[in-house]
Amino acid sequence: MRLSEFDLLSCEKQLTILYQQGVYIGKRKVDEFTRLLFQLESFYVEITYISYRLSIHKVSYCESTSILDPYLEQIDVKYLVT
């Protein structure tokens, strides 16, 4: 599925496809929001929750890898550096 096709789907259908095919990348908290990032084929989908897994605030998606940055910044690499 391409981003343009995903964009045409209802939010409910988007979540169903994400649940069935999404590859989880990470989780982060920003203020009162919790965000989960998934990869879906060639693009990324970010779910923002007001209350984690309880109330979805928004679903955003893009092809740019810049969406990965805040998730990558959370990774503690000190144990990988010898």
Binding site: Q20, Q21, R53
Partner: protein
């Protein structure tokens, strides 16, 4: 490790995500008369608990493992459980945020179930039933009687 006092059907759940631990514990709330959920925060803690079980401690009727955990991931814990008697026969479910075909294949290879974490809490009741479906018929009946 969090453990409550009354011995019931034990569901053991290991996950490093505090939110998901809470979510699953809440999902089993309606079975609180018949189920006690014992949790661990990583794979090492999970193995430590499971290896400490003896004839005096009740064996879990179901083990739920998050895949991505620090120190020892859920797949490694599953591998070790299958080498441990009498735990080898306890039903295990891998509970993951992704629906990776490779992880599903891994679960199948080790005779474990695979359930994807919900995106929305409305799916949680169905998922809890899926967890219980992995238990033996006797345990299923025992868990589902007198639902809160």
């Amino acid at each position: 490790m969090v453990k409550s006092a009354t011995p019931k059907n034990i569901v053991f759940y290991a996950d490093d995500d505090a939110d998901d631990l809470e979510l699953v514990q809440e999902a089993f709330d309606r079975y609180t008369n018949n189920v006690e959920v014992i949790t661990a925060k990583d794979g090492v803690q999970a193995m430590s608990y499971l290896q400490s079980l003896n004839e005096q401690t009740p064996t879990p009727c179901l083990i739920i493992l998050d895949i991505n955990m620090p120190l020892l991931n859920g797949k490694d814990v599953l591998r070790r459980i299958k080498e441990l008697q009498p735990l080898a026969s306890v039903p295990v479910v891998l509970f993951s945020t992704s629906s990776s075909p490779l992880d599903k294949e891994f679960a199948k290879k080790y005779n474990a179930g695979f359930v994807t974490k919900p995106l929305d809490v409305s799916q949680m009741e169905i998922i809890t039933e899926l967890f219980i479906d992995h238990c033996s018929d006797e345990i299923k009946r025992s868990i589902r009687k007198h639902i809160k």
